[in-house]
């Protein structure tokens, strides 16, 4: 049995697709804006949570235990999301400030 020698062709990069600078540059993510949005959202959810806890305490029959718990859990997640964004922004700022010149 004879085996034909394989012709090895080294791989070469002929073209790179998918890198398009134009629209990417125009739409830059603004961390500050994202943080502001997250903070507004967190504030709203926190208000809703407080409101539902108040209604539960006042004996509103439509407000059960789990509704109150869920509302406060949502507020918890939203606030932690806002805090995480804040931490990331500060971290990035510190990283830049520590640049050796």
């Amino acid at each position: 049995m004879s085996i034909a020698p394989a012709s090895i062709v080294p791989p070469s990069v002929t073209e790179i697709r998918g890198i398009d600078e134009g629209p990417h540059k125009a739409k830059q993510a603004d961390l500050g804006e994202a943080f502001a949005n997250a903070l507004t959202e967190a504030s709203n959810t926190e208000k809703t949570a407080t409101h539902s806890a108040e209604r539960f305490a006042k004996g509103d029959p439509t407000m059960g235990i789990h509704e109150v718990m869920i509302a406060s859990e949502k507020a918890n997640i939203e606030i932690r999301y806002a805090t995480t964004l804040k931490n990331k922004a500060i971290e990035a700022y510190r990283e830049l400030m520590n640049t050796q010149v």
């Binding site: 997250a38 959202e41 059960g64 789990h66 509704e67 869920i70 859990e73 949502k74 997640i77 939203e78 932690r80 999301y81 995480t84």
Partner: protein, 144 residues
């Protein structure tokens, strides 16, 4: 939006929890009234049953696959149409001409099973909710 997708799972679980709570209320109503011979509208108490329907989740309308993801809601509390249980007790104030008293068509064993099912379903809903919360917390911890 950012956190809304995790909240969708929470909203769906919340609707399930509310539905199971209503089921629990109905089961306890049936158990409490298992011996009630006089109900509003005449005759003995009739066993109640919940009718569950899938409904759209609030705040989910604009998002992807909003038609596919459904919450649950109690849309009706129906009355069991089975005939009442007749017991011979001529001295009872509600006894009929033949001396029989009509008791509710409630089977306490059935109600106990209903309560256990509702309790387990409630636990399952809470587990689903905790998993969604855990996922959100894991997502917040990316890169830490």
């Amino acid at each position: 939006m950012s956190t809304t997708d995790f909240f969708t799972a929470m909203e769906v679980s919340a609707s399930g929890l509310s539905a199971q709570r209503t089921r629990m209320n109905v089961a306890s109503s049936n158990l409490a009234n298992a011996q009630t011979t006089q109900a509003a509208g005449g005759g003995p108490y009739k066993r109640r049953d919940v009718v569950l329907s899938s409904v759209d989740v609030p705040g989910m309308q604009g998002s992807d696959f909003s038609a596919a993801v459904k919450g649950v809601a109690v849309t009706q509390i129906s009355q069991d149409t089975n005939p009442p249980r007749l017991e011979y007790d001529p001295g009872h104030p509600q006894a009929n001409a033949q001396g029989y008293v009509a008791y509710p068509n409630v089977n306490p064993v059935e109600e106990m099973v209903d309560m256990i099912t509702a309790s387990r379903a409630y636990e399952a809903g809470i587990t689903a909710m905790s998993t969604a919360v855990n996922m959100a917390e894991k997502a917040l911890g990316i890169g830490r």
